[in-house]
Symmetry: C2
Subunit: 346 residues, 2 copies
DNA sequence: CTGTTAGCGCTTTCAG
DNA sequence: CTGAAAGCGCTAACAG
């Protein structure tokens, strides 16, 4: 339909210009040692003169490496994913790899399409930030032995390369912190329970309660899906309760912010009437008012580490896949405070 | 070095399975009309059974369309670019195109490499968010007649498809607003003056001053490069002045935030002692305290419109390139207030 | 050290 | 309507 390109300099043009066979040019391009220095410079000069650039597609079709890593992300929408990608981008740049990013919009269909596509050689490896259980991809990728790493996603049982954070511990610590502040009735808003991370956070919360002999009440647990409206709805429901919680712990920052809105809309103050804790420590957490107390995931670092693992795997294809959990950290800001008895009785 | 893929279903496998030639399979894949209905369904069934997926590289090598748009962005770092990309992503998804994103890290070298690479057919069109003057790319792309659109970047003189915002008007309005608030001494921190947008903002500021017969003082203008530290340094310098300004207008939000830090570090209050205005309205502008008064660029919309223009060009290759300027809008928040005489004399 | 020769998977003529 | 054949630009043996 279209005949766009008119100035394509190919390996053959260069070969003719340099007076060698195109096989030799290919060797020069790929830094093959078996080329006489003199020939090499001649070819290099021809390339320079003609403005030659390798054609990625042709190269990968022919089976060569592309020096490019593909990244699959659900979207660019949340601070959370952006941070991870930034880490990946930085690390890849450092190692002189190119980054090719695709967004899946959380549809299984697109995910599979991209996985199937990229695997055909257009990239050397894949970094997956998936929003759902990636079992299908994992088995595909594992079967064909294609290098990849999962980010923030502990598949259950399988052992595939992945990096995540200590979700359980982070949730435990945050809950414990609230308890030590005097809170006994702590509401919890879960993430999407299909994700291991969401389950772990809930379990961390429950464990902390049990440790301090506080009963786990089902009605204090609201099931969300990691989106802001879930936080709003969850907090609204929690506030309606007879004996409403004095603190709410949301499974991510976005939901925590939704919860803050809900609390304020009921005319309650944060943290005076209700303390709020989030999870992730996305950039906005610091700027929201009151600044959000939250469990920091080392998002950028997760991206970096995942990238390192993948690149490492590319070098040593036979290494056993490992799963890394990076430590989380409680960041105390202004959305939490000790439980004031007066406030409760008032 | 590596022999990864083992399960590649090609057009030939499908052909054999369906008992047709692979040319016919290609026709089916490309929705060519010249295939008997019966044959088509048979091929479709075979594709389904084998789990066939087209190979992008092979297709584009052979000259077909890829249904993919390439996006070149300086980085994923600032809220500004993220917003634009989100717009692109959304619009592309809507039109069933795939998005392939590359980051250039503001290096001319990477920019040219990617441009040269992508142009070989791996994508059907290019969206450029470049951080420097893209003259070189423009001429390359124009010469080979490759579809592209520039975002937020008015190259001077050339006429190539681009979308930007009304920078001059936005700066004029913001300055006028400060003047009407009673401010006479208004500091200005410029962006990188190699960019047309930066120049236009400065000119808008100057014009507003002139309209209200306020002298343009060179020492009130600090030259920055759009980075946060520039805002800090600029505000610091401005505050040091004998007769320091009562308001500071930074050419983007990031610098405005740097300026806020500087002002506070000198023990001055915002907006009581100094009003601050930014430009862009990145998401953080709303959450910073005090919330930042700023000139909103319709960032996401710019991404969308640029995408529409590009896609449109893909359909009608002969349309003349247009340049669109989307309107900016002054968003008044809490970082500005009327000049209080008392505050000045005190 | 260098040239030659197969393809990689697909689109596109060109013949039937 | 369908098959056959010629590449797209490049890598990777295989001969020299």
């Amino acid at each position: 339909m279209e005949e766009n390109i008119s100035s394509k300099v190919t390996i053959k043009n260069v070969a003719k210009e340099a007076g060698v066979s195109f096989g030799t040019v290919s060797r020069v391009v790929n830094n093959d040692i078996h080329v006489k220095q003199e020939t090499r410079t001649r070819v290099l000069k021809a390339m320079e003169k003609l403005g030659y650039v390798v054609n990625r597609q042709a190269r990968s079709l022919a089976g060569g490496r592309t020096n490019t890593i593909g990244v699959l992300a659900p979207d660019l929408g949340t601070g959370y994913i952006g941070e991870v990608i930034r880490g990946i981008d930085a690390e890849l740049a450092l190692k002189h790899y190119d980054l090719m990013l695709f967004t899946t919009h959380r549809t299984a269909e697109k995910e599979s399409k991209y996985v199937a596509n990229l695997v055909t050689g257009i990239v050397d490896g894949l970094l997956l930030i998936v929003s759902r259980r990636p079992d299908e991809h994992i088995s595909t990728l594992t079967r064909i032995n294609f290098p990849f790493t999962l980010i923030d996603h502990q598949a259950r049982g399988d052992d595939c390369p992945a990096v995540g954070a200590t979700n359980w511990q982070g949730a435990y610590n945050a809950t414990e912190y609230l308890i030590k502040l005097g809170h006994q009735r702590i509401g919890f808003i879960t993430g999407w329970m299909d994700l291991r991370a969401a389950i772990d956070r809930l379990e961390g919360y429950k464990s902390a309660l049990r440790t301090y002999h506080i009963p786990v009440e089902q009605k204090l647990i609201y099931e969300g899906q990691f989106f802001q409206p879930d936080g709003y709805a969850g907090a609204s429901a929690l506030i309606e309760l007879e004996d409403r919680p004095t603190a709410i712990f949301a499974s991510n920052d976005v939901m925590a912010m939704g919860a803050m809105d809900a609390v304020r809309n009921r005319g309650l103050r944060i943290p005076d009437d209700i303390s709020i804790v989030g999870f992730d420590d996305i950039p906005q957490a610091e700027f929201v008012r009151p600044a959000l107390t939250t469990v920091r995931q080392p998002l950028e670092k997760m991206g970096r580490v995942a990238t390192q693992m993948l690149l490492d795997r590319l070098e040593n294809p036979n290494k056993v896949p490992e799963r890394i959990e990076l430590p989380t950290e409680l960041i105390v800001r202004n959305s939490t405070m000790p439980l004031v008895e007066k406030a409760r009785s008032g």
